[in-house]
């Protein structure tokens, strides 16, 4: 957040805090879904041991990378598809 000489008005500041909170919640949600999904995809449920083996480590890395790509790609696709439909989301 850029430091400025003029203190932001009451409304601006509230909007900024609101946006920051939503952004943080989004990131936490993204992380949680990512963690759950890649665990389901990469780790066998038998739990033979408590360590992650090499195969699982690689799988996790690649899964996270791909999930991230889908997430980025999806963002672009969804918001360019129909701005009218999704325009309401963009109004804070």
């Amino acid at each position: 957040m850029a430091a400025s000489n003029n203190a932001p008005s009451g409304i601006d500041k509230e909007q900024i805090f609101g946006m920051a909170e939503k952004e943080m919640e989004y990131r936490v949600d993204l992380f949680n879904k990512l963690t759950q999904t890649c665990f389901n995809k990469c780790i066998e449920k038998r739990y033979k041991e408590s360590e992650l083996n090499m195969g699982e480590n690689s799988c996790i890395d690649r899964c996270v990378s791909k999930y991230w790509q889908v997430n980025t790609h999806f963002f672009v696709v969804v918001f360019s598809l129909d701005l009218k439909k999704f325009g309401s989301i963009l109004q804070y």
């Binding site: 992380f31 990512l34 739990y47 360590e51 996270v64 990378s65």
Partner: protein
């Protein structure tokens, strides 16, 4: 929360910084509790299938322990990679 977010807090005036820090704290607490609950649910679902007795047998105990440790290690690794991708750093293939 990644450390880069915390570093930016220093540029804010005192009261705003406190407010942001409090928001982050609350988010972290809520997230930790949620993670705990979902971990218990997952490991129970994966490890406990029979209900002939009311206490866990040795097998179920080990399974649950391994499940929890594994998930936490997995979560740490994901966190590492997530932070790297967030910063736009190139990651190994």
């Amino acid at each position: 929360m990644d450390k880069s977010m915390l570093a930016e807090l220093d540029t804010l005036p005192e009261e705003d910084r406190a407010r942001m820090a409090s928001m982050i704290d609350q988010l972290q607490i809520r997230d930790s509790l949620r993670m705990y609950n979902s971990l218990v649910e997952r490991c129970f679902t994966d490890c406990v299938d029979t209900f002939r007795r009311k206490t866990l047998d040795k097998q179920e105990e080990s399974c649950v322990r391994r499940c929890a440790e594994k998930f936490l290690k997995h979560s740490m690794r994901v966190g590492m990679r997530f932070a790297e991708l967030n910063q736009g750093a190139p990651t190994p293939d």
